[in-house]
Symmetry: C2
């Protein structure tokens, strides 16, 4: 009886971690959505809300960490249970970073709003964010259902994000070259795009962690990491003499 009682308290603790992570995930998704909305619609009060909301994730991460360490010390989990607990520590760190990146986008929203940039640049950012958010939603869904077979699709979306970020990078640089007044707002948009691309990377990290939790194996490391813009040279148009 006593034993069953302990076991059920233990599984309750693991459930608590899982629920806390799911809540962090939902919060992070909302922050990203609202940061992008604040950027695209130039909404400073929404931007400020996102900046304030970040502390929720910081605190949640700290709580997940503390809780996880108490579980390890008290319950001495093994195998899959241990991977669950260590996995929770990792995933909460990734989600906390997603919140930081959303906050950074929100901060830039205010400066960009004053620049009056053309709609098509915002559309590019929005499309990139949609892909990264879809990846985040998918990975959180796999965390909830543990159907790891769905993780395979993420690779293709990685490539899509990569291609879209690369074309946005080129477009922003070209636009900066057209008029020096575009340089400050477009620099902020460049950093926003980079932040979104990194949100996609964190989604992929989370996918790898879930894969490890469920299977005990590392995901095959064929993912091409790092964006392709690091070596990109964009030249100003030739002056029409």
């Amino acid at each position: 009886m006593q034993f069953a009682h302990i076991a059920s308290a233990y599984s309750g603790e693991l459930d608590y971690l899982t629920k806390r992570i799911a809540a962090m995930g939902g919060h992070a998704e909302r922050m990203v959505e609202q940061a992008i909305a604040a950027l695209v619609h130039g909404d400073p009060s929404l931007a400020q809300k996102v900046v304030r909301d970040d502390s929720v994730l910081d605190e949640a991460q700290r709580e997940v960490d503390d809780k996880a360490i108490v579980i390890i010390a008290r319950r001495q989990p093994m195998a899959r249970d241990l991977r669950e607990v260590i996995g929770a520590i990792r995933i909460s760190a990734d989600l906390e970073r997603v919140g930081d990146l959303a906050k950074n986008v929100a901060k830039r929203a205010v400066v960009v709003a004053d620049g009056g940039q053309p709609t098509r640049l915002f559309r590019g950012i929005e499309a990139l964010a949609d892909l990264a958010l879809a990846q985040l939603t998918q990975v959180l869904d796999v965390y909830a259902t543990r159907v790891v077979e769905k993780l395979g699709y993420m690779r293709d979306r990685d490539d899509e994000i990569d291609a879209m970020y690369t074309s946005l990078f080129r477009e922003l640089l070209t636009y900066m070259m057209e008029d020096p007044r575009n340089i400050t707002p477009c620099t902020h948009l460049l950093f926003c795009a980079k932040n979104i691309e990194r949100i996609g990377d964190h989604a992929t990290n989370i996918a790898e962690t879930i894969h490890h939790i469920v299977t005990g194996e590392q995901m095959p490391a064929d993912r091409p990491k790092g964006d392709k813009t690091a070596r990109m040279m964009v030249l100003p148009p030739k002056p029409t003499a």
Copy 2:
């Protein structure tokens, strides 16, 4: 006898983790130094070496993770020992990220080299990197000696890095406005500067982890996180009519 034997094998395992982390730290420092040298002197073969060297850290992180999980499962460490093992997982993740950031700087070195940018911009990057590297070296020294009292000094250097990054950001944007041909190389230098600033952040993360390992307490959270450039507007000079 048997018990003493187990205890000593265990402390040997913890020592192994600590040594592995120290080696990762040395490797990460070298990568940062060489990435900056490749950038400043436009040395593509050194840049390629840094890109190749990154896989060492990826592999070391995976090994530390696996080893740490085996230690937790087999030895069921408590209190300080448990914090050591969880701390090793966290620190190796930060060092792996430092390697990624150094690799990204190295990749950009090749494009920047073709741009023929003025020496003073490189000097700014170098000075920023010196600060971040000093922080990394100090924190690795504290990890080796466990004299956490030395961590207090890091806060001041955080502020210095912040101020220097902010002024470099402004300088690079101004320089981009002077001539559209500067835009691509200076964008890469902006991302390099951002990467170096983030290397400083990872050093601070490591400081916080060491503080937690040794004292069991979180470091007071008065650190002002996030760079100040996110809200910065730099305007082109007025045309001299």
